[in-house]
Symmetry: C2
Subunit: 383 residues, 2 copies
């Protein structure tokens, strides 16, 4: 099997952007090629991770537009959709394109343009990924998160403040990330006093609606040195599904697809949780950071909340989680998110993370589609 | 590189179906697993080729629903969108998943549910894949086809009847295909007297709006014999793009992405056009059959129309084209089409094509996205 390297990465400013999806993708794609010093006519495959440009903006075929905008014709292209995990699925697709020998230089660009729609409209577009019966009864992803959070707090006697600590940490990290949507610290009181959204979760337990894009450039490891002095290696990547109907799961505080994709990615990489120096987890809701820490084996069931309250997941902790600011602070443009998680790992691994550098050799990213309906996990290491 | 086999295939009845996208995908997926005698819990990757379930039906995450509906959890899944070439892109994605070693058993299901929308609405959804300036001026794919057809007929002094002969042939073939939307023959006069749509193209130069799904099951060639006595091998598969803005192309009667993807697929397979015994071409419009015959090297520029008038592309000709009935007669449920093309090659290659069998050892399928914006070509051979 061909080993696959990441030789360049980029992300745009996240937030409310005065640009449409096509402009965001082109901005990230160009910046990534510039980062690697590669001409666009060398690109053989170009994957676009995006959930819903048609629903949000009335535009389809954005992958074909991007190939033209980057002057990469006749590069092959395809759109990868795995709902809110489209970016992670894009990493898996790009990895497969290089590992299979189909392409030697594959560009992945993930992005979403959302802020021109109201928060309600965006939430509704996302909710179309739920089971039709869930959807008809008005269940949205935030409501699932509220139910899971209440159960978690009750079952494990975890303090409500522990969820607020996740938001406080990720805002502190985001304050160091010039690409983040929110670059300001908050305190626990602000989080706990914010408006109720889905009891017990409040406004600061949720990621915002965001525009943005991110990109990664892949090639075989044995060619990486020709392009870059410093690069990263995708040592493990895998994806898994859980039941489409959330209430059919045996244990609502265990995300089966996190467990399965994590185990497969660790096995492929020949790594275990103790080897990981930095993790980017899918904190669309604060409770998800706990469920992923436990599902991936970083904490025993019911123990992840202690990692937050003890500061172990802070930048100076033993396992920094979401040094980028996470979805909470950096923002969550659906198709961009998984790619932006890997961007953060890349800059951490090659030494470009600036103030938020944690000195990592091994990183992990977990990208959650729906409410754990499909999850991808990626292990990246310094090349 | 791992060689990749197709060990099972299926397609649903195409036409106006009383089922939503989820039901169509599950029907095709189950039938394909039954065809191969494989249990759903053996499936490792499941790719869903679909352009626009969100736009047509307001449902997203249909790939996750399908995994649950087939009882294939925790199989990894992703939706593959390459507009009207989503099926061909799905073949390429499934090939990559097996060839890379990521999965040993990969199911591809392509489908689209369209007939609950008016023809105008469907045409508009498809037109969102064009360049925004083209879209704003009301240009649709049928209008591009009309312009290309007029130029082709004028430039090569080809008779208008040659286009009608494509429709007549594909209707004759469709009459032998129990899955086809239209199972009745037409004559040249009927085609020539049908209502004008985009001068010089008339109603019978266009494929219908269709519901349907199709599926293929892939595994490494060295494992295929364990599953099936007869199987097919994907010996070549490639994709390429052309300019996103159609009028930027140097020659409107040459589809660059057909040429590029065809050359790459032939090179990978170690084949040339003379080796091909049967072809499934993307006859969304009759003129496209000529442009693909020429772009793929089956005919010199300006000569493909003679293949139609001389009967060379008929079932008993030297290169049978669209024995399935093609998009014209079989129907064109966008995400299903590329998969259904490969279904036809599969049944031709393994000897299950019944009355329309042409006795083929090597087959080729060409799936066109947009107006040639992105094209995939697949070469399949008897295993």
């Amino acid at each position: 099997m061909t080993e696959v390297a990441v030789i360049g990465a980029s992300m745009t400013q996240f937030g409310e952007r005065d640009a449409w999806i096509r402009g965001l993708l082109a901005e990230a794609g160009r910046a990534c090629l510039d980062d690697a010093g590669v001409n666009s006519d060398e690109v053989e495959h170009l994957y676009v991770a995006n959930m819903a440009s048609g629903e949000f903006e009335g535009r389809t075929g954005i992958q074909n537009a991007l190939v033209s905008d980057l002057a990469a014709t006749p590069a092959y292209t395809q759109r990868v959709d795995q709902t809110s995990a489209s970016g992670g699925a894009g990493i898996y697709a790009a990895w497969q394109s290089v590992a299979s020998g189909a392409a030697d230089l594959t560009l992945l660009v993930g992005g979403e343009k959302m802020t021109h729609r109201t928060t309600g409209e965006s939430t509704d577009v996302i909710a179309t990924l739920t089971h039709p019966v869930e959807y008809k009864h008005g269940v949205t992803l935030p409501s699932f998160a509220g139910l899971a959070a209440r159960l978690y707090l009750d079952r494990y006697n975890a303090p409500r403040e522990s969820l607020a600590e996740v938001a406080v940490k990720n805002h502190a990290n985001g304050a160091l990330n010039p690409h983040a949507q929110f670059q300001r610290e908050i305190d626990v009181e602000t989080a706990l006093d914010s408006p109720m959204v889905a009891d017990p979760l409040r406004l600061y337990d949720f990621c915002p609606v965001t525009d943005g894009a991110a990109a990664l450039l892949f090639c075989p490891v044995d060619r990486a040195r020709a392009y870059a002095d410093r690069f990263a290696v995708v040592s493990g990547v895998a994806g898994a599904t859980d039941t489409h109907v959330v209430h059919e799961r045996a244990d609502p505080t265990t995300m089966g697809a996190v467990v399965d994709s994590g185990e497969a990615a660790f096995e492929m990489a020949g790594r275990d949780p103790a080897d990981v120096d930095v993790a980017e987890l899918h904190d669309m809701f604060t409770i998800l950071e706990f469920l992923q820490l436990e599902g991936l084996g970083f904490a025993a069931p019911g123990e992840a909340w202690r990692m937050a309250t003890e500061g172990r997941t802070a930048l100076d902790g033993d396992l920094p989680v979401n040094p980028s600011g996470g979805l909470k602070s950096k923002g969550h443009p659906l198709g961009a998110t998984g790619v932006a998680q890997a961007y953060e790992l890349y800059v951490q691994l090659v030494g470009d993370a600036g103030e938020r550098s944690v000195g990592a050799d091994v990183g992990l990213a977990c990208n959650v589609g729906g409410f754990g309906n499909c999850v991808t996990t990626t292990v990246m290491e310094a090349g």
